[in-house]
């Protein structure tokens, strides 16, 4: 096999891990009911173990103390013995499939919120405010320090008694341990601050207490940062010194290394590098730590591909690779490598839908895999062939919803025809991929394309289906996923016209798809503040245009997630794009060769003008409903979806009813504009019972 390094077992402490791939700790945001792990949580990890993952470290930011609130991210609560039986379920589920499971334990100190649940007073070495969560905190007292050290030990005991294979002490992401380490936050002058030894003391006491509690026969690891990238923070050389210091105790069984600190918006984006980053951008930092420690080193961050993982392991840079988002996209990653099905792996594209939801306190979901974290509902990663009758299924529209519908129906064993009006699959993904730094999103289409080819789906590209062509195929089921088009006609004063010669405004689609030449001096009016407006701005600026992006919302890009807007901002500010908020586009008119855009301040009503040569408007999508209404009356179910069945992941009742006319469903933006995940989720839950 070509992936020898990946499948080389490794010893961590007294534990043997079957391969070198780890799903590293992340907040799942599914432990609920006071932080007890749920059936959903267990099934989520069981799926990874079933798929061959060597080691799962669950529970990113699971708390050891009650003054480190778990409610914001529904993380696991290890501050009570109530957790122990829940861990037993989790451990059994993973061990059953030959996997190993550990949990990250932490006290988050100032890195949390105080304005809810028990309304705690957050603690930190020197009471310095944390900017990302806008949280204030008190200066921690000696008594509290010792209490929390004891809490760490008790939490580790609970993990051990629950049958987990180990704990990972979080000393990364500016949690309490590394708040003590970093001179940026620790300004103390007592024995807990100042000199190197003093700053190390809290972490060292935690380590000693944990080790004393669990003994030598239980894995205790530590997750650390590779370089905080703050001028007043810990540098890579500092981190090497710290790692060597703890390693020398012999009490640490492994180190996980995360490149970059994360207590600003900009550095936070580094921690989970999105598609704008090169592969494994921080490997050199992990490799630097490995040089100075004896314990094995784990490193994640933009490792998504088996060849890449193999190359990193083979090169000896680190001992284990974290492929966490890779597992969120495809929990069967390892099994597919083993079965020589590398091309069937649904590869993470770095859209960061998962983590951007997490930072909003929403459950972690995958933009392209709707089954992930919904295993408990019965949503399958592997679609079974139907035992019922083979049906003729016609899918119209090759965007994400249509591609998923066609794939799922074909996996069920049906005869599927997919119509797509343009000459390639992808729909709006294709447009999105045109922007600088966003090309990787086309990976979503890539996987569907490879799968639809493998499943021999009849793909009719460049072919706009109408009522007659569809009915000629005598379909049993028609799925419409025809999307929509930019909604520029909403305000007459914008001067949109279907005639491109006359129209005063163009859409971001026209810009990104290259249908319209980029202007030299452009105003973008972005009513959504999502990806499309930012992408169009970046695209135009990249082509040398002067760009101002204006919104009536609170800031451009406001609806783009926390790990992605920074990469846009880096690019836009560098290209001197002007970002203007609180102004709505009132009107556009022509003046000589120029266009004048009249903007109106949301809060004062004051108007002002811009003289430009191009006005681009992003105002969302208007569903394309024509085909639906043409077919609606010809269908047996009148196009209706049984919502109770849909939400319960049950078959649509109409599937088992007899009749001559086809069933008709529509999903994705041709119903109402939502997002990629929504389209794919609807397609999966609807079509899995065809």
């Amino acid at each position: 096999m070509a992936f020898d390094a990946i499948f080389q077992p490794i010893q961590i402490g007294n534990l043997t891990i079957r391969n070198r791939v780890v799903s590293t700790a992340h907040a799942e945001v599914h432990a609920t009911d006071g932080g007890m792990t749920t059936d959903r949580y267990v099934k989520y990890y069981e799926e990874k173990a079933k798929g061959g993952c060597g080691l799962c470290i669950c529970g990113g930011s699971s708390v050891v103390s009650i003054d480190s609130p778990q409610g914001w991210w529904s993380s696991v609560n290890l501050s009570t013995d109530r957790i122990i039986p829940h861990f037993q379920n989790l451990a059994d589920a993973v061990h059953k499939h030959g996997g190993k499971i550990m949990i990250q334990i932490t006290h988050m100190g100032r890195r949390s919120r105080w304005d809810g649940f028990d309304w705690p007073t957050l603690v930190s070495p020197s009471g310095i405010r944390e900017p990302v969560h806008r949280s204030t905190c008190k200066t921690i007292e000696e008594e509290e320090i010792w209490r929390i050290i004891g809490d760490f030990a008790q939490a580790a005991r609970r993990a051990k008694e629950g049958g987990l294979d180990g704990v990972e002490l979080s000393a990364v992401h500016q949690h309490l341990v590394d708040q003590f380490w970093s001179p940026r936050v620790n300004k103390r002058t007592d024995q807990w601050g100042g000199s190197f030894e003093n700053r190390m003391r809290f972490g060292m006491e935690v380590l000693k207490a944990v080790r004393a509690e669990v003994g030598d026969d239980f894995v205790v690891g530590m997750r650390i940062c590779g370089d905080e990238f703050h001028p007043d923070g810990l540098s890579h050389d500092d981190m090497k010194q710290i790692a060597a210091y703890y390693d020398a105790t012999g009490k640490v069984d492994f180190f996980g290394v995360v490149g970059s600190g994360c207590d600003t918006h900009d550095t936070l984006a580094n921690v989970i590098p999105n598609m704008a980053y090169p592969p494994e951008p921080f490997l050199h930092l992990a490799a630097g730590i490995k040089e100075v420690v004896k314990a094995p080193v784990i490193h994640a961050q933009n490792i998504k591909d088996p060849n890449q993982a193999e190359r990193i392991l083979e090169g000896g840079y680190v001992d284990l690779v974290g492929m966490t988002r890779a597992h969120i996209a495809d929990p069967h990653l390892i099994a597919k490598i083993k079965m020589d099905q590398v091309d069937q792996i649904k590869q993470c594209v770095g859209a960061n839908y998962c983590i951007d939801r997490q930072y909003q306190g929403l459950d972690v979901l995958c933009i392209q895999n709707a089954a992930t974290s919904r295993e408990y509902m019965g949503l399958p990663h592997i679609i079974e062939q139907t035992e019922g009758k083979k049906r003729k299924v016609v899918v119209v529209g090759g965007g994400p919803g249509g591609m998923e519908a066609a794939r799922v129906a074909a996996e069920r064993g049906h005869d599927v025809t997919l119509f797509e009006a343009s000459d390639q699959l992808g729909g709006q993904i294709t447009t999105a991929a045109k922007a600088p730094q966003r090309d990787q999103i086309a990976g979503i289409t890539r996987w569907f394309q490879l799968e639809l080819d493998r499943l021999k789906v009849d793909q009719r590209l460049g072919s706009r289906a109408d009522e007659a062509t569809i009915l000629d195929l005598r379909p049993d089921i028609v799925v419409l996923a025809t999307g929509g088009r930019p909604y520029l006609e909403q305000h007459e004063e914008w001067g949109y016209s279907d005639n491109a010669e006359e129209s005063l405004v163009v859409s971001t689609w026209d810009i990104l798809n290259g249908k319209v030449e980029p202007g030299k001096n452009v105003l973008i009016y972005d009513a959504l503040c999502e990806f499309s407006g930012m992408s169009a701005a970046d695209y135009l600026a990249d082509k040398g245009a002067k760009v101002e992006i204006v919104t009536d919302d609170i800031k451009p890009g406001a609806a783009v997630g926390g790990t992605t807007f920074p990469t846009y901002y880096r690019s836009l500010y560098q290209k001197e794009v002007i970002m203007t908020s609180d102004m709505m586009l009132h009107k556009v008119y022509r003046e000589g060769d120029s266009l004048v855009a009249v903007l109106e301040n949301e809060y004062t009503g004051t108007q002002e003008e811009r003289v430009v040569d191009q006005v681009v408007v992003e105002n969302g999508v208007r569903p394309d409903e024509a085909l639906y209404y043409a077919l609606k009356d010809r269908s047996r179910n009148k196009g209706q979806v049984d919502l109770e069945a849909l939400y319960a992941i049950k078959p649509q009742p109409c599937l088992s009813e007899e009749g001559d006319e086809p069933l008709l469903f529509r999903l994705g933006d041709c119903t109402a504009p939502r997002n990629t995940h929504a389209a794919i989720y609807d397609a999966l839950r609807l079509c899995k019972d065809f």
Binding site: D227, E228, F229, S260, P281, H284, K290, G315
Partner: protein, 255 residues
């Protein structure tokens, strides 16, 4: 011709074996039509070494000359004397030993002492005639260079030379180890060195020297970009091709 053979060491198990390059050297010799081949080894004779040396006999030889020497001695004088006593046309050796210092110096020292030319890193010997050998030298990146060398000469063998044939058990057991003796020269200097198992040295990833935190971060997250290259727009295909051709010529990649 004479092939110098040594006792190798398996990189994973650490057991004695035929040394890979030496075995390739024997194989190379076997490919030359009409060559009269002798095998020569200087070193200690014990059970493990004997099994390894018999591995060479199993490649189709009746005998191997073994000049007995204690461990950690300098084999140079003994080998030089032996070759001087009965000079072959061509001496073939591996590039370096798999045990001990493994400096790869021995063939050079022999060549210096015998006053013979040396060519290193062969992939093949194409022809031996008229006192001249035509050989192919292996270069990095799978490249080859053709050389002519006047005989007698010493050549060393690269890992690109053909893989050695299997050693047949019967002939290996039947073959004779003809043991002879020679004066011993102790390697005094080596006695002072410290040896320990090597740890893997991962290749350097990137050098980030920037002092400021911002620059370190930028260096880590930056795309691989060159910048400042020459861009030819509005040229004919011929003009474009000419520019590419010029670069390929300058870089010497066209043969």
């Amino acid at each position: 011709m004479t092939v110098l053979v040594s006792v190798g060491r398996h990189p994973v198990t650490g057991r004695s074996r035929r040394a890979d390059q030496d075995a390739r050297g024997v194989e190379l010799a076997r490919t030359l039509p009409g060559a009269e081949i002798g095998l020569l080894h200087a070193g200690r004779l014990d059970e493990g070494n004997e099994a390894a040396l018999r591995g060479y006999l199993g490649m189709g030889f009746d005998a191997l000359t073994l000049i007995e020497q204690p461990e950690s001695s300098d084999a140079l004088p003994a080998l030089a004397e032996a070759l001087k006593a009965a000079p072959p046309q061509l001496v073939i050796a591996g590039e370096r030993a798999e045990q001990g210092e493994g400096s790869g110096l021995l063939p050079y020292l022999l060549a210096e002492r015998l006053g013979w030319p040396l060519v290193s890193g062969l992939a093949a010997v194409e022809e031996v005639s008229g006192g001249v050998a035509t050989v192919l030298q292996a270069l990095p990146r799978g490249q080859r260079r053709r050389l002519k060398v006047r005989l007698p000469a010493i050549v060393t063998v690269d890992a690109a030379a053909p893989a050695p044939r299997q050693s047949a058990f019967g002939p290996a057991q039947r073959g004779r180890l003809e043991v002879s003796e020679a004066p011993v020269a102790a390697d005094v200097e080596m006695a002072e060195w410290q040896f320990k198992p090597a740890r893997k040295r991962p290749k350097r990833l990137k050098i980030v020297k920037a002092a400021s935190a911002r620059d370190r971060f930028k260096a880590a997250a930056a795309k691989a970009e060159g910048g400042g290259g020459q861009v030819l727009t509005d040229v004919t295909a011929e003009q474009g091709a000419a520019a590419v051709y010029k670069l390929l010529k300058e870089e010497g990649v066209l043969r």
